[in-house]
Structures are given as structure tokens and as C-alpha cells.
């Protein structure tokens, strides 16, 4: 298996506060190559060919999304989604902590490719330190003429602004994110129109996850062919996985897509701590599926055929000593708090799920509760306005089906 590192390559080797240390390891040479030798069309074709797809969860082709905006005229925007508030997920934060300039270079390139003169970084409201790191990075990039008017002597102009969220999980959803930047409640909007057609202030807007963006410089330097050879053919490249819970070496690791869950937990994570017995693992944060021992050899990809969706890449290992009712309260409480309240099925459904979870914890669950659980989960799965409703039903549904928390 390939052990190419694209994003974490220079982690720990460079000083995140100093642009010189990124430049010293070849940083910003993709931008220079783009300005000197390439044009937007060629690079777009290259990104499409690489097969890079969105790391924010949905796995949409990044080349296609960039093209949708690039082909339109007039004012347009690029937004880097750094809202990252899925429980157990801190990969985008780690990118900023360890190498903010690779992200910034990716943002600059993405913006120039689509023809945007203005880009935004929408950062999680709790990420104060990361906001400061990025502010410093922006200042240094501007001093080095990688940003601002006439980027390294070319006729490209770009301004990058940081917009900080205010603590709402649903604002990671791109239309809610745009609403919140426009000064509205962070509720999702009806799609279509998609942001690529009518986004921020009604202008074509490309929203990409921070990890997705950080792949762009590498692809420009090393070519689409090299990239598409890494990992699973259906969604190539590497992925940042966040190992947590009952595991010897927790933290962020970079590995190819298509890797199995077992390899991640036992090879990269060093397995479970001594004396702990594996029970199940949850893939992709609180909104992710549960996976039992017998399914650990499933390769993780973004393909629709993949039985467990990769989501944010968080891998939570749960051992037999964990009180499952605590975890259920954690999931249901999270979605009850974070439901934006726009649609009835999610607003009420998440509330009722949490109530029932409380009774489960207290051992007071009734037959009526068990009956309504089925209805609530069906409703959340099938009738909500945005995917958050479905997310709220995923783990609970799996706990009933696979962990048999209600009996057989």
C-alpha cells in the first residue's frame, strides 16, 4: 500500500508561524508554476482527471464543482469550509495547526482557477487559536505577494477574508453557512439553486472543505496521474483519519482511501489499550454508522456503494466497558441541540429521540416508546429538509439493528 503523504508531509518539520519554513520545503511552488506556466483550463482538466472528491462528507467531484463556477462570468466567490463541528473530528484544525500555508496555497489556487477575486475562510466559532494562525499566515502571504493585487507579478488579484462562525453545527452545511455569512439564521436553504449557481449574495460560489483544498497544490505539482494512482480507484487520494476512543495512539493520521477499518485501528492506531475488548466502531462522527468486528475488513471510500460512508473520517473505537446509554445520550443530545428547527420532523424528532434516550438510560423505556422509535427514525430518515435529520437517525438505528439495544 502506498504511503504517500500529501497533507501531513511536512507536519512537525515546519514552523506554522513562519512562511519561510513552508517555502523552504517547496511551498508555494504550485502557485508559482500555475502563474508562470499554466492556465485555469489546463489545471481544471487536471483536477478533474485526478479524481479528487470532496472531503467534507458528500464526496462530490471537486473538479466538476470548480468547473461549474469557473464557466460562469461576473463576480463569484470561493469559500473554504473550516466549520468542522462533527463530534470527534479535528482534522481541519490539525491542518491549520501544523501547516496553514498548504491550506492557504490551495485556497489561492482554487480561487484563481474559478476566476474569483474574493475568497473566504469560514472557520468554526471555537477555533480562536486557529483563527490567529490563519490571520498571521494571510499577512505573511500578502507580504510575499502570494495574495493581494498582482499576485507574483501577474494580473491575478485575490483577497482572502476570515469569517468566524458562532457555534452552530448545521452551519457546516454549505447553504446554512452562506446564510450565516449573510447575517441570517444559519438555516439551510432550498436547493436548487445550488451555491455554484446562486450562492453568497446570489453570486456563483464554490464551497470546499479545508482538507479537499489542501490537496490542490500537490496535484498541480505532481500531476493527476500520480494522484489517481493513490488509494481506491473510485475516490482516489489520501484521507485524514481521526482515531479516537479506546485506542493506543489516538490522533490524526493520513492514509490512502480504500484502506480497511481494521488496518487503521490495528496498524495505525496500535490497537486497543491492554485489557480492553473491542465492541464496535463508529465511522464519521456522531452522524456516522456503527461497524461490528465482522465488518472491519470493509475498505473505506466515498463511493455510494461503500457500505459505511467515510464522512468526516473520524473513527471512534468503543470497547465493552463503555456504557452504551451514555453514548446514545451523547448522539441524541447533540442532534437535539443542533437541529436548526426549520422543519418539524427534525425539530420534534430529535427532541423525542433524546427524551426516549433518557428513559433508556433510566431503564424506564416502555413498549410505546419502542413503537414510536421506529416511526421517529423512519420520519427522520425520509422527510427532513437537510441531511442533519438523517444523520440524527443513523447511529440510533444501527444501535437497535446491530447492538440490539432493545432486544431482538
Amino acid at each position: 500500500m502506498s504511503n504517500t503523504k500529501i497533507i501531513t508531509n511536512n507536519w512537525g518539520k515546519i514552523d506554522p508561524d513562519k512562511i519561510e519554513s513552508y517555502i523552504a520545503v517547496g511551498g508555494y511552488s504550485a502557485l508559482k508554476k500555475f502563474i508562470r506556466d499554466l492556465d485555469a483550463q489546463t489545471v481544471l482538466a487536471e483536477i478533474k482527471k485526478s479524481g479528487l472528491c470532496g472531503r467534507g462528507g458528500a464526496g462530490f467531484s471537486t473538479g466538476d464543482k470548480l468547473s461549474l463556477v469557473a464557466t460562469q462570468g461576473g463576480e463569484k466567490y470561493f469559500i473554504c469550509n473550516l466549520d468542522e463541528s462533527e463530534p470527534g473530528t479535528h482534522k481541519d484544525r490539525s491542518i491549520v495547526d501544523n501547516n496553514p500555508h498548504v491550506l492557504l496555497e490551495g485556497i489561492i489556487l482554487s480561487s484563481l482557477i474559478i476566476g474569483a477575486k474574493k475568497a473566504f475562510i469560514y472557520i468554526n466559532g471555537h477555533y480562536e487559536k486557529q483563527k490567529e494562525i490563519l490571520e498571521m499566515a494571510l499577512e505573511q502571504a500578502e507580504k510575499n505577494e502570494f495574495l493581494g493585487r498582482g499576485i507574483i507579478g501577474s494580473c491575478y488579484d485575490l483577497e482572502v477574508e476570515i469569517f468566524q462562525g458562532a457555534g452552530a453545527y448545521v452551519c457546516g452545511e454549505e447553504t446554512a453557512l452562506i446564510n450565516s455569512m449573510e447575517g441570517n439564521r444559519g438555516e439551510p436553504k432550498l436547493r436548487p439553486p445550488y451555491p455554484t449557481g446562486s450562492g453568497l449574495w446570489g453570486k456563483p460560489t464554490c464551497v470546499n472543505n479545508a482538507e479537499t483544498v489542501s490537496n490542490i497544490p500537490w496535484i498541480i505539482l505532481n500531476g493527476a496521474d500520480a494522484y489517481s494512482k493513490i488509494g481506491a480507484p473510485c475516490s482516489p487520494g489520501t484521507k485524514l483519519y481521526i482515531l479516537g476512543g479506546s485506542i493506543r495512539n489516538p490522533g490524526v493520521v493520513e492514509a490512502p482511501t480504500g484502506i480497511t477499518i481494521r488496518e487503521l485501528i490495528f496498524n495505525f492506531g496500535g490497537g486497543l489499550p491492554r485489557g480492553k475488548e473491542f465492541w464496535f466502531t463508529q465511522i464519521g462522527g456522531a452522524s456516522g454508522h456503527l461497524v461490528l468486528e465482522s465488518e472491519l475488513d470493509t475498505p473505506l471510500t466515498f463511493s455510494r456503494e461503500c457500505p459505511v460512508s467515510l464522512g468526516s473520517g473520524a473513527i471512534l473505537v468503543v470497547d465493552r466497558s463503555v456504557n452504551i446509554y451514555d453514548l446514545i445520550l451523547s448522539w441524541t443530545g447533540f442532534f437535539r441541540r443542533e437541529s436548526c428547527g426549520k422543519c418539524l420532523s427534525c425539530r420534534e424528532g430529535t427532541f423525542r429521540l433524546h427524551e426516549i434516550a433518557g428513559r433508556l438510560q433510566d431503564g424506564e423505556i416502555s413498549d410505546r416508546d419502542k413503537e414510536s422509535l421506529k416511526d421517529i427514525l423512519w420520519t427522520l430518515n425520509n422527510t427532513t429538509f437537510c441531511p442533519l435529520g438523517k444523520f440524527a437517525a443513523t447511529a440510533m438505528g444501527d444501535a437497535i439493528l446491530k447492538l440490539k439495544i432493545l432486544g431482538d
Binding site: 470527534g88 447575517g183 471512534l316 453514548l327 447533540f334
Partner: protein, 147 residues
Amino acid sequence: MRSIEKVLLEFDPETRNLLPALKKISAAFGYVSEKDAKKTAEYFSIPLSKTYETASFYDLVWTKKQPSLAVQVCSGTNCAVSGSFEVIKEMENYLKIKAGDGFNSKIKLEIISCLGQCGEGPVVVVNGKIFTRVTASGVHGILEEWL
């Protein structure tokens, strides 16, 4: 202390600055009072209802005066499997209030979502100060200094 006018003047009166302005007001004065919300609405030339519509949505903007002691415990998945519910129970016993109870004007105990500090959980925030790897038996030690 800065006046509300001074805070508002830091922002161009465009709706894109509404959320950043509300966040700043909330942080500077502890919450967005009705008086300040009216001034904000005037400054941005928007209805008062619109100001509240936005302000009331976000966790980091308060529209009510906050108690002098605000304790928050993360119950995200990673914190939950490392024992945050035991910490919450111990806090409830010690502070003699229920988590999520909004009726006590002096103390608030709140269950919150992930802050991205996973791996160091359970995470507790007391009046903005972050504590990591908190255990039920460590609760007294943390809260003592604030009571």
C-alpha cells in the same frame, strides 16, 4: 468600559457584518440586551425582529444576561466514552442544580457539543476557561475556586 456605539462603529453597517457585530457585543457586555439590540437594529437599518432572529440562533451570542458562574461540559462522542456523563452527575450533585436548568440566576450548568479538543476529554469549560481530562473526582477541585 466601551460603549455599544464604539463597538458598532468598528463595523460597516452591512448585513454581512451583523453576526460578527452581535458576537462582539455579546462578548463585550456579556449578552445582547434589548436596548443594545435596538441600537444594533438602527445602526444596520434593519427591524429589531431581524436582529433577534439572527442573535437568538447562535450559541456564541447570548440574548439573556448570563449567570456569574457558567459551567459547560462537553458530551460529544469522544468525551462521552471517556466518562463525561459521570462528570455531569457529579457537577449536578455538587452545584445542586440540574444540567440544562435555565432557572437559576447565579449558576448555569450546560451540556455542550464538541469543541474539537477530542483526545483530551472529558472537556469542561468554566467561565470560558478550558479544563481537559476531567474526572468525577476532580470536579470539586475545579469548581472550588469559583464558588
